[in-house]
């Protein structure tokens, strides 16, 4: 205060304050900016990162530090994003984690999701479902083959199967889908729907019937008959085929095979014989199928 009162060295004091501030600011920039830029650098490599909020990034930073990449780079996701950002497996896994975070995932749940995904891509023992005689959606020669053990009344199947149908219809040479009946015992309309789809198959209209049944919100007998009509089946043959003994036998055989592969619920999805554990919406299924194609083609 003396300085102000006597009028001396006001500028000197300002200079001191100013230079101190400048020093602190420089130090701050030197220390913090690289960290900040580094963080930003990571996010630039992460697909979908622009949609993340600060809380999501906090969760993901912890996930990236804790989880290892299961392919492409033998390190944590965080380090892999730095060292091998061009690796498709790394980017794909990071993008998967982002989607889980956006769906409200916690650190623990996302870590578990990543474990499940690793197991889906590299399971200890893949199985070989028998698809002989089954109608294919997509090109049977496609490198990615999905076999779905599914039920018509199950709401999650009503998400997964239409999504898989969309993928295999849009890109038939990329992936092929086979459907196997796995009617859940506690569902009332499952077996009537399964017999309907098998009977439609006998008239070569399996997938049309399949799509129509999944588009229905209810599966009463009238809804099933409505589908049969819409699809253009011969209704008389349809009815006799539905009641035929071999119809039920085929469904039983398909479900038995599923049970022998440890399917305990629907939809049970196998991608090239590898049991899929994970979210069953369009984006995530497509992502998993593309990963499988990369594995088959030796890119992952």
């Amino acid at each position: 205060m003396d300085g102000f009162r006597t009028g001396i060295n006001v500028t000197t004091q300002f200079k001191r304050i100013f230079s101190c501030a400048a020093l602190v600011l420089t130090a701050f920039c030197l220390l913090v900016l690289p960290v900040w830029a580094d963080g930003n650098g990571i996010w630039a490599q992460v697909p979908g990162a622009e949609r993340l909020k600060a809380a999501h990034k906090e969760v993901l930073t912890e996930v990236f530090a804790k989880a290892n990449c299961y392919a492409g780079c033998p390190d944590t996701i965080a380090n892999c994003l730095k060292d091998a950002p061009e690796e498709p497996a790394v980017r794909r896994l990071a993008g998967f984690a982002v989607r889980r975070a956006l769906k409200g995932g916690t650190v623990e749940s996302i870590l578990q999701d990543i474990k499940n995904r690793a197991l889906s891509a590299y399971p200890p023992k893949p199985v070989k479902p028998d698809v002989s005689g089954l109608p294919a959606s997509g090109n049977p020669k496609a490198k990615v083959r999905v076999v779905a053990y599914s039920d018509f009344e199950c709401p999650y199947c009503n998400v997964a199967l239409p999504a898989l149908r969309k993928i295999t219809r849009e890109r038939p040479d990329f992936a092929v889908l086979y459907f196997k009946n796995f009617p859940i015992k506690s569902h009332k309309s499952s077996i009537p729907s399964s017999t309907a789809v098998v009977a439609a198959d006998k008239q070569g209209k399996f997938w049309e019937m399949h799509d129509c049944l999944y588009a229905k919100t209810e599966l009463a007998e009238s809804d099933i008959l409505d589908c049969a009509q819409k699809v253009g089946l011969d209704l008389k043959t349809f009815e006799t085929d539905r009641k035929a003994k071999n119809t039920l036998n085929r469904i039983r055989k398909e479900k038995k095979e599923g049970i022998s592969f440890d399917v305990i619920g629907t939809p049970g999805l196998f991608v090239n014989g590898k049991f899929y554990v994970g979210p069953k919406n369009y984006d995530d299924l497509l992502d998993r199928l593309e990963e499988e194609r990369d594995i088959v083609e030796g890119r992952q």
Binding site: E58, K103, E153, Y156, K185, H187, G268
Partner: protein, 167 residues
């Protein structure tokens, strides 16, 4: 009654709605403030559809697995249930066993379930059968509301129990 007398009905109604507005407005402010400051805040408008579904389980309840030691120690209070086909049951089965055939597609018929429930009163139901169908049937029975159903560890060959010692 609690309202001061002599006031017009309009005023009473007005006060009523003002208070309602306050009772809704204060929570709105609280909600906005708390959501603003909590780290796991929710977007006011959801961008992603909620994942409301999960796999439909074939069995909504799980039966308990028991080992052969349990069977030995509870020999007198057991009711064996044979999950295999009628033909196989006719050839050979554990003494005192009841045959309830496991079917891949259909649950146990209501009638059979009631029968089983009435004969198993006071006993522990233990299901057996080849290739894991013991567990499958036991899970079905549990899902259909039977309490305390158990199944014999499928690793253990139930036929060894026929060799004389037990039960």
């Amino acid at each position: 009654m609690s309202y001061p007398t002599g006031k017009k009905m309009d005023d009473v109604m007005k006060r009523f709605f003002i208070r309602i507005a306050i009772l809704l407005g204060v929570p709105l402010l609280l909600a906005v403030a708390v959501n603003l400051f909590r780290p796991t805040s929710l977007d006011w408008i959801a961008k992603e559809a909620y994942e409301i579904f999960q796999d439909c389980p074939e069995a909504t309840a799980q039966a308990e697995e028991v080992q052969v030691e349990f069977v030995r120690s509870h020999a007198t209070s057991l009711l064996w249930v044979d999950a295999r086909s009628e033909e196989l049951f006719a050839v050979k089965h554990l003494p005192g066993a009841v045959n309830v055939v496991y079917d891949t597609l259909f649950p146990v018929a209501e009638e059979d379930l009631h029968n089983l429930q009435s004969i198993s009163k006071g006993k522990t139901v233990v299901v057996y059968g080849e290739g894991g169908i013991g567990k499958l049937l036991a899970d079905d029975l549990a899902s259909q509301g039977m309490v305390g159903v158990k199944y014999l560890n499928p690793q253990f060959d139930w036929k060894t129990l026929l060799m004389g010692e037990m039960p």
